[in-house]
Amino acid sequence: MATHPHILTSVLSVLGQPACLALLVVLIPTGTMSAADIAPAVDRFLTTYCVRCHGPEKQKGSQRFDTLPRAIGDAAVAQSWQDMLDALNLSEMPPPDEKQPTKAELADVLETLTANLMIARRRLVDSGGDIVVRRLNRREYQQTIRHLFGVAVDTSFLPEDEKIDGFDTLGQAQEFSSLHLERYLELGKRVLSRVIVSGKKPGGSQTKKVEFGTAEPAFAKEVKGPEKTIADLTKPGAGKKKGDDLKLTIAQAERKLIDEYRALANAQTGAVIPFRGIKPSVDYNFGGSPTLGTYRVRVRCGADHATAQDELFLRVVRGNFRSAVPDAVDYHQVTGTTVAPQVIEFTVEIDGIRSNRLAFERRNGRLHKVPALEKAPTYYFVFPNVAELLEDRRTNLWIDSVEVEGPLPAPDVPLSAQHLFAGRDPAKLGDADARGLIERFAFQAFRRQTPEPAYVDRLMEIFSAGRAHGATFIDALKDTLAVVLASPRFLYPYEPRPEGQAPRQLSDRELAIRLSYLFWSSPPDEELWQVAESGKLRERGVFAAQVNRLIAAERSGLLVETFLTGWLELHRLAAINPDTTHAAGYDDAAQRSTRRETIEFFHALMRDNRPIHALIQSDFVTVDSIAARFYGLPGVTGDAFRSVKLPAGSLRGGLLGQSAILTLTGTGDRTSPVERGVFVLRKILDRPPPPAPANVPMLDEKQVGTRSIRETLDQHMSKAQCQSCHRRIDPMGFALERFDPVGLVRDEVLSVDGTQRFPIATAGVMPDGKRSFADYAQMRQRLMEDRDQLVRVLTRNLMTYALGRTIGFTDQDTVEQIVAATIKDGYGLGSLLHHIVQSRPFQTK
C-alpha cells in the first residue's frame, strides 16, 4: 500500500483556481533572461548521467540532450525539457543499471530545472503588457446595475466567472457563449420590470412592531404541535407504529418544558430563547410581496437575567425556515438585561432575491446531541436543533419586540423611473418620445457615452415591432431597453485603440472608469464624473484627492474583500465546517468574525496608510468582540471591528497569527505544515514552489498512524524528488505548528491517529538555507528582514487585479519602480495603491 505524503497535509493550494495558470504565472524573483534558460548546473548533470545514452553516440528513445536548445524559444522545446523533468521526477531515469546521481545531486537538479522551466514558460506566455478588453464580471455587473437603477440583481443566474490566480478581473480568462448572452438579456428584462413598474404606486414608509410574550395570540398557536402529537398517540385505539414510542417521549418532554416555559415571568413579556429548545427562535417575516427597499430593524432585547451576561449574542439569520444555507447570518453582542433592555439596530435590504424572513436566535455555539435522542430523526422536532438544546442550561436571550421601519428613502440613481421619464407621467408618453428616451438610457448605461445612431435605429425597430404586435408603450420600451443591458458597450468598458497604433494615454473619462471599477466595482459617482468632465482629473492634487476619496469610502471594502479572497484564498474557509474542528470555541460565529478580521485588518492598513509589513508583524489586531473572545483578548465589547493593542510578546499580529489564515491552510481538524509553508513562500517571501507535480511517486502509508506530523513529513527528506521543494517548504510550516488547526496557540501536537502526544519542534532554517530560527517568533523576525519581498508580492498581485491582466516580464521594471517608491514612502499600503494607479500601465491603453 502506498500513498503520496500529501495525504497528511491535504494540498489545497491550487484548489479553486486553475492550477496550470498558477504554475505559469507564478512569479519568480528577479532574473533577467539570458539567451540560455537552462542553468549550467543542469548541463553538468546531463553530461554526467544522461548524454552517454542520449547524445551523439546513442539516441535511446529517440532522445538527444546535448543538442536540445538551452534557450527555450517555443512550447515544443519546453515540452522536451518537461519530459526530461518528468522522467527524473518519476525515477524512470537514469535506468537502475546505469550510474546513479546522489540524492543531493538529484534534488538540486530537480529544483533548478523546475525553476528554469517555470521562468521559460512564463516568458513564452507573456502578454507583452497589453490589457485585453474585459467584460464586467458578476460583481461589477451587480454593482453597475445597483448604481444605475438602485436595484439588486441575482447574478448567480449568470455563468460563473472564470478566474486566473483567484482573480475575477482578468479579460484573458473570460469566455463568452450564447448562454451568457441569453442570460444577460433575461436579467436585463428582470431589472427593467423592477425599475419601470406599471400600475399602483408603492406606499410610503411604515413601522410595524411584533411582540413575543406568551400573552400574544401567536404563542398559543406555536405550542399546539406537541400537544396534538400526545393526543394522537395516546388516544384509545391509536395504532402503534415503529418509532411512536420515541415520538411520544419527545412530545411529552416538550410538553413538560412548555408548562415550565409558561410559568416564567419573563416569558409573559417577551420570548425567552432558546429555553431548552422550546423556543429556538422567533422570526419576523416581511411577507409574500413586500415593497422592495431598505428597512430598519430594531430588536429590543437583553439577557434573561437582571444582570448583564458577558457571553450573550443575538444571531440573526436571513433565510427560509430550516433552509440549509441561509442567505445571511449576523451576530450582535447583547449587553442589555430584562431590567435595562438594549435596542439592537440594523438595516435589511428586501430585494426580491434573498429571503423575506429574519429569524432571531441566541448564538448557541457548538451544540451537543442529547444522548437519549441521538437516534431520533430530525423531523420529530418542530424546530431544528431542539434535540441538541433540550439539556441546555445557559443564560437565555430575552426578546421583547422586533420593530421594522421602511422602506427607507432610497438614494437618487441615474436611471430611476423618475429620471428616465424626465419627471413625466409614462402613461402620457407617446411613441414619439421613445427614441429620446432610449438614447438617454443607453448614454447612462454605456457610462456616459453616446450610442451610435445605427444602433439606436435597430433598437427603434425592436420597439416599433413590439408596438405593432400589440405591446403597450411601457412593455415595448422595457423589452427594448433590456437589449441595451446585453449590448457590448454596456458589458465591456470600452477603450478604443485601433490595431497597429501605439499605446495611448487614457482619456479622463476612461481613467475615471478604471478607478471607480478598481475601488468600488461600479461606475464613477457624480463627483468623479464631474472631475473627469472638467478635464482636471490628472492635475496632481486633484488625482490624489480623488484616489483618497475612493479609498476612504466604505465601498472600498468590496475591493479588499474581493482582492483578499483571490490573493489569500479566503474562500477556502467555507470548506471548513466548524463542527468538525477540535476547538469548542470555534463555532460559526468565530469563523465569520475571524474571516472578517483578515479583511478589516487589511482595510485598516489601506485606509490609514499603515506599513505593508504589518501583514508580517503588527502590535495590534483588528477584531470585534467575538474574535477578541476567541483569541482570549479581554476588554473588547460590541460588534464594531477596531484596532486593539496586543500585549508584549504576543504571537498574534500579522497574517500568520490570524485564525482565518491558519485555518484555511488545514482541514479544520488537522494542520498542514506543508500548506502553511507554501503559504509563507508564496504570499510573503515571493518564492513560490511549483505546484505538486502530477503522477508523483507514493510513500508508504502504513508508517503514518502513530507518528508526529513532523516525523512523517521528514520522509520528504529521504527522497530527492520530494526534497527538492520540501526542504524550503516544510521548515516554515513546522514553525507555525505553534498554532493549532483553528489558530489557537498550543504546546503539543497529536499523532495522526490521535493516540500519541509530542512536543512541538519549531526550529528550522529559512529558505535561503542560511538564517536559522528557533521558533515562530524568531521566524517572524526573519520574515521582517525580508519585508521588501512582501511589498513585491503584493504589488504584483494588486497590479494583476487592478490592470486585469497577468503581470509578466514586460512589467518587471514597472513593478520594481513601484516597489522602490512605496518603500521610500514608508511602506504604506495606501501609498502602494497610489503608485499603482499612477503607473503607466494603469493610465495607458
Binding site: H4, H6, I7, S10, V11, V14, L15, G16, P18, A19, C20, L23, L24, D74, A75, Q79, R121, V125, S127, V133, S156, P159, E160, E175, F176, S177, S178, L179, H180, L181, L185, S323, A454, Y455, R458, I462, A465, H469, V483, A486, P488, L491, Y492, P496, R497, P498, E499, G500, A575, N577, D579, T580, T667, P691, A692, P693, A694, N695, V696, T806
Partner: protein, 432 residues
C-alpha cells in the same frame, strides 16, 4: 444515409424504468414521415452521452482487479452489476498532455495540450462531443446539449461544462434542471404566429447588439478583437439556433414525458432529475449528443459525510474521507445504472432498445490524488452494434491515449476523421 428517429410510443415513468403505452401523436413524428406511414426500415439513430466528475475515484476500490470477460466488479461498481454485459471498464487510458492534478474535466473530452499555443497561457481545443454534434446534430432541434451543475465546487479545472467549441472556447453548460426542462419542453403551448413573432423579435435583438459590437470592432486591437469575437460567436450560435427553430416552427415541441422539476433539489436528486431529463430529451429526439459535468461536493453531504472532495483524494484507506469516497463512487454507479435502465426501457420501432444504439462514456480526467494516468473510464451501450461489451480491457501501456476511445466513438457514429487530438490508433478488443 439519412437516419430518422420516430418518437417512441412509450413513455418512461420517472425513475422506475417501467413502460406504459401512449397514443401516437402525429406531432411527435419527424416532418418527412406522416403518421399514416410509420418509419419502417429506418435505422435507429445513434447517440452519445458523456458524463464526468471531479476528484477521480477511490484508489483501491473502483478499478477491477482482473482483466478479461470474467472479471469481478469492484465494490464501487457493484451497483452496475445488472448491466455488466453492457459495458466495459477500460484500464490504462490517459490524456498524455494533461499535467494539472486538479483538472478533472478541462481536457477530458479534448485530450488537448493546453500549453502548446505560443503567447497563450491556456488554449484548449474542440471536444469530441462537438465534433460528433456537427454530424449527429443536423436532424435534431438541438445539435447538442451541454449540462453542468449549479454548485460546482472545485476540482474540475477551467471550463463551464465538459464541452469546448471549434476554437477551443469554453461552452457554458445549463446548470439548472428547471432551465434544462424549459429549453426542452417550454413554450410548447405558444401559438404558431406568436412563435414566428418571437423568432423575428430575437433576430432584431441580435441585429441590435451586433450593430453595437461592430461599431466597437472597427476601433480595437487584435487582442481586444479576439475577445469581442467571442461575443460575435455567441450571436452567431443563437442565429443558428433561431434558424433551427424556424425549420422546426411548424412542429411544436413535444409534450414533456415528465413533470417540470420543482423545489430545491439535493445533489442526488439533481443528478437523478438531470438523467431523467436526458432520457426525455432522447425519447423525444431533441438531441443526439449530451455532455454533463456532474456535481460531486453535495453528494458527500447527501450521503451523511462531512468531508470536502479534495480530502477524499489525499487520505488513508482507513479514514472517514476514504469511506466517503467509496460511498460517493457507489452512489454515482447507482445513478448511472438508473440512467441505463431508462435508456433500456426506451424502445425503437424495430423493437431494439434505445440503449443498444447509444454510447455512454463515463469517467474522470483524474484517477485519484494528482494522478492523471490510467484514469477511470467506462463505456456503456452498444452504439448500434459492433462493440464488444462485458469486459475489463487492460491496455498495454499507461500511455495509451484516451483520444483513441474518442476517435473510436466518432468512427462508431459514422464521423470519418483520420484522428482526434493525440489519438494514435484503435482500441483493439473493444470496437469489432
Amino acid at each position: 444515409m439519412k437516419t430518422i428517429h420516430p418518437l417512441t410510443r412509450r413513455v418512461v415513468l420517472r425513475g422506475l424504468g417501467a413502460t406504459i403505452c401512449l397514443p401516437l401523436l402525429e406531432a411527435f413524428l419527424p416532418s418527412t414521415v406522416s403518421a399514416a406511414e410509420p418509419a419502417r426500415g429506418m435505422k435507429p439513430a445513434k447517440r452519445l452521452i458523456f458524463l464526468s466528475y471531479s476528484w477521480g475515484v477511490s484508489k483501491d476500490d473502483w478499478f477491477p482487479k482482473k482483466a478479461g470477460r470474467d472479471y469481478d466488479l469492484s465494490r464501487c461498481l457493484e451497483p452496475l452489476a445488472r448491466h455488466k454485459p453492457d459495458f466495459c471498464v477500460l484500464s490504462n487510458l490517459s490524456n498524455k498532455n494533461a499535467t494539472q492534478g486538479h483538472w478533472a474535466t478541462t481536457t477530458w473530452l479534448t485530450s488537448a495540450d493546453v500549453t502548446a499555443t505560443p503567447g497563450k497561457q491556456f488554449q484548449n481545443t474542440v471536444s469530441v462531443d462537438q465534433v460528433a454534434a456537427r454530424h449527429l446534430g443536423v436532424e435534431t432541434r438541438f445539435p447538442s446539449i451541454e449540462l453542468s451543475n449549479s454548485a460546482p465546487g472545485d476540482g474540475y479545472g477551467p471550463g463551464s461544462s465538459l464541452s469546448w467549441g471549434p476554437a477551443g472556447n469554453a461552452i457554458a453548460g445549463e446548470t439548472s434542471p428547471v432551465s434544462f426542462f424549459d429549453r426542452l419542453f417550454g413554450a410548447s403551448e405558444v401559438p404558431l404566429a406568436e412563435r414566428k413573432y418571437l423568432i423575428d423579435h430575437d433576430r432584431s435583438v441580435l441585429d441590435a447588439v451586433m450593430a453595437d459590437a461592430k461599431s466597437m470592432h472597427r476601433q480595437i486591437s487584435k487582442n481586444d478583437r479576439q475577445k469581442i469575437d467571442g461575443y460575435f460567436d455567441s450571436v452567431r450560435d443563437i442565429e443558428v439556433r433561431l434558424k433551427k427553430s424556424e425549420e422546426w416552427l411548424d412542429r411544436p415541441k413535444p409534450k414533456a414525458p415528465l413533470e417540470r422539476p420543482a423545489g430545491k433539489l439535493n445533489t442526488i436528486e439533481e443528478i437523478t432529475v438531470m438523467y431523467d431529463l436526458m432520457i426525455a430529451a432522447i425519447q423525444t429526439d431533441m438531441t443526439r449528443v449530451i455532455t454533463y459535468r456532474q456535481p460531486v461536493e453535495g453528494l458527500f453531504t447527501d450521503l451523511g459525510y462531512k468531508v470536502v472532495g479534495h480530502s477524499t483524494t489525499h487520505c488513508t484507506v482507513q479514514s472517514e474521507a476514504y469511506r466517503a469516497s467509496i460511498a460517493r463512487d457507489q452512489k454515482q454507479a447507482e445513478l448511472l445504472a438508473h440512467l441505463i435502465d431508462g435508456l433500456k426501457a426506451l424502445k425503437e420501432p424495430d423493437g431494439s432498445s434505445n440503449f443498444h444504439h447509444t454510447m455512454i462514456a463515463y469517467g474522470s480526467g483524474v484517477r485519484t490524488n494528482h494522478d492523471l494516468r490510467d484514469t477511470p473510464t467506462l463505456l456503456a451501450g452498444h452504439g448500434g452494434g459492433g462493440i464488444i461489451q462485458g469486459q475489463h480491457l487492460v491496455y498495454q501501456s499507461k500511455q495509451t491515449p484516451l483520444a483513441n476511445l474518442w476517435h473510436g466513438m466518432l468512427k462508431q457514429v459514422g464521423v470519418d476523421t483520420p484522428r482526434f487530438a493525440d489519438s494514435d490508433g484503435t482500441l483493439p478488443g473493444l470496437f469489432a
